[in-house]
Amino acid sequence: MTPASIAPKSIAGRLALMFAIATTLVSVLAGVAIFGFQSLELRRHQAEELNARMEIIDAMIRHAGDPKRWPMLGDKLESFTPANGGVRYRVDCPDARFRFAPDDALARARDGVDLIHFDGRRYMTLTRRVPPYLERPEVRLVIAADTAPFDASRKVLGVGVLAVSLVTIALVSLLGWWVARKGLAPVDRLSQRARALNPNDLGLRMPTQNLPTELVGLMTAFNGALDRLQDAYERLASFNADVAHELRTPLGNLIGQTQVALSRPRDTGELEEVLHSNLEELDRLRCIINDMLFMARADQGALAANLEPVSLAGLTHKTADFLDVLFEDAGVRLEVVGDGMVAADASLLGRAVTNLLDNAIRHGVDCKTVRVTIEPQDGKVCLGVRNRGGPIPEAHLARLFDRFYRLDRAREHSHDVHGLGLAVVKAIVTMHGGTVFARCEDGEVLIGFVLPGGTVASGEPQEPTVRRIEPVQA
């Protein structure tokens, strides 16, 4: 295990560490328990051994009441005592004739089972009083056995338990780390795949097949994010190309016509004409650049300041007043239904409505009425501009609000339209925290926006306010 893998940052390391801690706890508990029980068992075993000896000796002296026979008993006890002193005997008696006392130290042993130290060794003792018989008074019989063999057994047992525990801990930790690594292998594979993601191959996606279920959701979400990024990236790229194209056309005109004008002497009138034409192109450039800057601000998340209560119907009427001549020229009348109040920058929103109406007039097909409906919608206010036209394919509808997007490529170089009208609408609506929409319904095109908040001016359904276009006076 490398130090890095144990670092809490690695999941495999963390899991291995947790396995190790868990195993250590279990091993220590088990080890202590085994060692404790075994020690007790050894102790019991030793005591039993002493007890067995005691029964034998007890039987020997219980019915020995004759002092003449006692030395023979002493010899027997002597022969029972091994040379290494592993087992020792002592018989205490007030009457000196019935004594067997090779080691004074044994006299210290208390009745029953006791532990005493002498000769640098540890002895377990068993002491019993044997009742008087014939001439012999009561004697105190002590048997001592050296605990060294049992202590050695305990030591071996302890070392064994400890060694087994340590090996178990090490093994389980290693295995844990290995298992975690194995379990996390799909993550490693995903990391490798993710490292391959780059702007040159935008279509690359993370695999979602053969993945653990825990990762499928994450990867699906991740791929969704990649989809959106790819979309934005491609839009930006095509947008840059569009900008270059839009600017190149007027620039080309400017350079070309200026060069032509200067290539030979010309009178003032001709030169003036060139300057006027240049000015028109320059003004077009200025408009495009201003709109682009404006939209860049909206993209950066700028929000409209100077908010005031604005009546959408009022704003629509004011805008329609401005566009009056265009409505007349197109032979289109305007119908405004409903009203709603929003908090908005009136001037900005006016521009959005102007562009929507202008767009409706411009792109209507066989259209006699442009209908503006303003209605509350889940606490928001929705303004829709409806005209006859279309049908517009779904793919185009989604892109109507894109910069420089034109349904009709042939109109590309029309002077009036620079293809930013609806993009500006979207930017303005975004700056007010709203959303734009475009739909096709029954041969009608409905384009508009939904703005948040605002109180509805009147709960009562309103009669459509119809502006009749007066006939153009000759």
Partner: protein, 227 residues
């Protein structure tokens, strides 16, 4: 009418100076804020055209210091189309602002507005044989009443008040319809076309002229020079 231009971009200074001088203004210019502040504090100007981004003392800082002693009208020019800059400029005491790239005509219009120049309080206007009665809202040409709609009359009045001056589409939009944003529509062109049909249609001498790329002029040109 004395104007001070504080601007460090030589080409901008050159054309502003030329254009404003030709419009009858007497123009001084300096290239940085320190000198600008000094001149503005020591001489009496009718208006100051102040660039927001200057080397050394920047426009807003200069304006803040100027406002401690003087109330000379100031038009700020800001290169960045950012709300903060505008608010900072207006907060520091600018009377108006223009976002670069701006149109010269617009600068001229705003200068006239803040110096109260060219705002005749006349109630009648005469351009050649065209007469406007602003109180009665009546227009006649060669003695014949012209049948104008309210907006057409307003448009004619805007041009008449500035007769012989080029009036840009932006200014027309603002003054006639109270719309103060770029619209990218051809409303003004269409409205002018209609007005022209009514005031010039039946007459030999044309009064309403188009200056391509700039705007419109209401002017009597006795020699009948072409547009």
């Amino acid at each position: 009418m004395k104007i001070l231009i504080v601007e460090d971009e030589p080409k901008t200074v050159a054309y502003l100076r030329k254009g404003l001088t030709e419009q009858g203004y007497s123009v001084d210019f300096v290239g940085d804020g320190e000198d600008g502040l000094h001149l503005a504090q020591t001489l009496d100007y009718d208006a100051i055209v102040l660039d927001g981004m200057l080397p050394g003392l920047d426009g807003v800082a200069m304006l803040e210091r100027l406002r401690q002693t003087r109330q000379t009208p100031v038009i700020m020019l800001t290169a960045r189309d950012s709300v903060d800059d505008r608010l900072r400029g207006l907060g520091a005491g600018a009377d108006d602002y223009l976002v670069k790239p701006f149109s010269f005509l617009e600068l001229l219009a705003r200068l006239q507005a803040i110096t109260r120049r060219g705002r005749g309080e006349a109630t009648t206007i005469t351009v050649g044989d065209l007469h406007l009665d602003l109180l009665a809202r009546r227009a006649t040409r060669a003695g014949r009443r012209l049948n104008l709609t309210a907006k057409e009359f307003a448009l004619l009045a805007v041009l008449g008040r500035r007769q012989s001056q080029i009036v840009s589409k932006t200014i027309i939009t603002e003054l006639v319809w109270d719309i103060n944003f770029d619209t990218n529509t051809n409303v003004v062109e269409v409205a002018i076309k209609r007005l022209r049909a009514k005031i010039d249609g039946m007459f030999e001498t044309k009064l309403l002229h188009t200056v391509r790329g700039m705007g419109y002029v209401l002017e009597h040109r006795p020699d009948g020079s072409p547009e």
